[in-house]
Symmetry: C2
Subunit: 200 residues, 2 copies
């Protein structure tokens, strides 16, 4: 049998090296050459996969986003819909090393969204996926009869998405302000206000 090279595995290794270079030296330093050196690959073999820095960064962002979604998909959720929603939100916020990596790369990536159309498209896709996931958490609460009649699911999903992004951003860029404990408190309190209004 011919030797099978696991291209996906190799690309994931590279994505990891991209993140390490960004974390150590900033997004501007994540050149094809620097990432090759960090991953212990030759410049030529990285170029086999990626010819530009932009491609490399966009790919790394996509890998890290996919992995975050897979972590959520693999979760065993509590039966209680409130606890389940909280667990999903907390799994995606930068509260453990894996999620912190994903969120740090996201922040490094955001500056590129302003200038690179491919990065912008990827960011929009990522937002759509997160928006659906958050909408779904609210829908499940609604379906369980926990939200008040006339609850504006669309608007509340937009509000939850913005709040989520703000917490994630602050947790990565200002961890002394947005500690893991405060992140959990704010998101838990927010869900609580949605439910409490259902009880009035």
């Amino acid at each position: 049998m011919p030797k099978v090279v696991d291209h996906e595995q190799r690309r994931r290794e590279l994505a990891r090296a991209v993140w390490q270079v960004i974390r150590e030296r900033g997004v501007e330093a994540a050149s094809v050459r620097a990432v090759a050196a960090r991953a212990g690959w030759s410049h030529g073999s990285v170029q086999y996969y990626f010819s530009t820095q932009a491609e490399l960064l966009n790919f790394a962002m996509r890998v890290i986003t996919d992995e975050a979604e897979q972590r959520v998909d693999r979760m065993r959720l509590p039966a209680d819909p409130i606890q389940a929603a909280l667990a999903v939100l907390e799994r995606l916020l930068p509260l453990d090393p894996d999620a912190r990596t994903a969120n740090e790369l996201w922040v490094a990536f955001l500056s590129r969204v302003l200038v690179d159309p491919a990065a912008r498209e990827l960011n929009t896709e990522g937002n759509e996926r997160l928006a659906r996931l958050l909408w779904d958490q609210l829908w499940q609460l609604d379906n369980a009869g926990l939200l008040p009649a006339g609850f504006d699911l669309e608007l509340e999903a937009d509000r939850l998405h913005a709040l989520f992004d703000g917490i994630a951003l602050q947790a990565v860029t200002d961890p002394a302000r947005m500690t893991p404990a405060l992140a959990r408190k704010v998101i838990g309190y927010h869900l609580d206000t949605l439910l409490r209004r259902g009880g009035t």
Copy 2:
């Protein structure tokens, strides 16, 4: 009398040029040399003020943040405290060209916060100033008797700050999702939920 050079004015011009280079070519392109060229200055005269790219970017961030605060300070606020709070929040969100500039620079700057201690410090300072401003809006509503007894001002200020950052971030990086109309709607709705709970 000796000729007086308005250093502050010249530094503000440079800050503007930094932003223009970032906007056109990304944060990694904002070198001392590129900014000098964009501002129409010699490389040496820019170096008179700033010796490194990091100093230049941090300075630009500080100028833009100061200007945003001055715009808020100069506002004539409506007498109604709810309308006044909304007006302040909407003034700082990227809903007009000046505030959009400030917020775009903020997003470009965030990637540097991960790797540059001076940028991190500046970001923390900026967060503290915004936190005080947002806290003050809630305090004014409370002072006017518009918030319910037992309202948790600290936690609500943290929630408002995260929501505000998330809206600003999405408005800059995904304007098709977070349109100015939606930004106004979400922030208005959020204030409304705080007040409505006071009425139950």
